[in-house]
Subunit: 225 residues, 2 copies
């Protein structure tokens, strides 16, 4: 047995697992901020900005006390076929450690606070970060890799707003972010009733939407704060 | 604080940190075997063989009780320039977790024992493994990544055997493996005296070698068992 301590936390637009992307990099418009704990100084990130991409290791903190399973139903397989836990990136895994590659935007240092701004992270708001490593192209990029059931990125749906769903007080970049996130159809494979209103929290909004085949209709956006 | 338990161990030809490659994938001829703990059944690896590459998360177990540093001297920078720990893959890092992508060769199941045979791992023999994840090309492969001081793979040196250094009892594939490993010049950047005999343990051999500019000469191979 071995202990791990978070090195920081992430601030992200995803407030719940539902609608959080299933892999990193699908939503490059998603901006997140990693805030290192104050015991790390600017020295710990010296030269980090010489890399375009980073690896983030994090804890699936919501799953830590949940029962572990050897078989998982990946959403990509429609939610009814079981696959071994080590053949998935599922959050229900023996050591609850997640791995995501992200684009590095900038490193910001304010007195004792080190922030790392990244793009494309698939992490829920407030997720504990346990490591950051540089992405090294010659050893990490395998263009020829065969990736089983996840060889290609998931298909996207068109996203429309019902009349009045989009209030002009909502900034345009938030509207676009909501649209991009929902385009991947966040519904789990085993729970896909069309004609039902689904709800998801993104940023400080509660968003209602319907799915009809390959189109998604946003019915309401409720401001939560 | 959070606890992590190894899921298994790796059997590798690298017996010490010296001469262990600094990144995965440099030595594709290196074969290793991950043996899962017996509490994992064949279910845990179902469909894993549909992926060509895997991620291995492991513990830098030799560094767990060593002092943590915010600044590291990467060997690639000659060993005298300091870089932030999060801008390196150094084993001296806050949570001692390592990350390597490897080629998956085969999954073997023998009664209650699950073994995963991989190629290109840069892990020392007996390293505790804490997770295995599939490599997903569309989210992990970034051909356009800029990787600071490690943009290109390190240069390799030519490796020769002194007369009598190579005994015919040593199988040819071991000879080739030793040659390939030493071609990356395992000496740390700050300790590069030519004309000195260095020693390294690989497989069950103790190997003596000299470095002269861009050439390496193996002076002896001593069988350890």
């Amino acid at each position: 047995m071995y202990t791990v301590e978070p090195i920081g936390r992430i601030i992200s637009p995803f407030k719940e697992k539902f609608a959080t992307p299933r892999q990193p990099g699908l939503l490059t418009s998603v901006q997140s901020q990693i805030i290192l704990n104050t015991n790390f100084s600017k020295n710990a990130v010296r030269d980090l900005d010489k890399f375009s991409h980073l690896w983030i290791l994090f804890l699936f903190s919501e799953c830590i006390n949940k029962k572990k399973k050897e078989l998982i139903r990946p959403p990509r397989l429609g939610g009814n076929k079981k696959t071994g836990v080590f053949a998935t990136r599922s959050n229900f895994r023996p050591n609850n450690i997640g791995l995501s590659s992200v684009i590095l935007n900038k490193v910001e240092i304010n007195k004792n606070n080190v922030s790392i701004f990244v793009q494309g992270a698939d992490l829920i708001d407030n997720t504990p970060i346990i490591d950051i490593k540089p992405y090294i192209k010659y050893s990490d990029s395998h263009e020829d890799a065969i990736s089983g059931y996840a060889q290609e990125a998931p298909l996207r749906k068109k996203v429309f707003f019902f009349k009045n769903a989009w209030n002009k007080q909502i900034p345009k970049n938030h509207k676009e972010l909501i649209q991009e996130i929902l385009s991947y159809d966040p519904r789990p494979g085993y729970k896909r009733d069309d004609n039902k209103e689904y709800h998801v929290k993104i940023l400080h909004y509660d968003i209602g939407f319907y799915v009809l085949k390959s189109e998604i209709f946003i019915s309401k956006i409720i401001l939560l704060i």
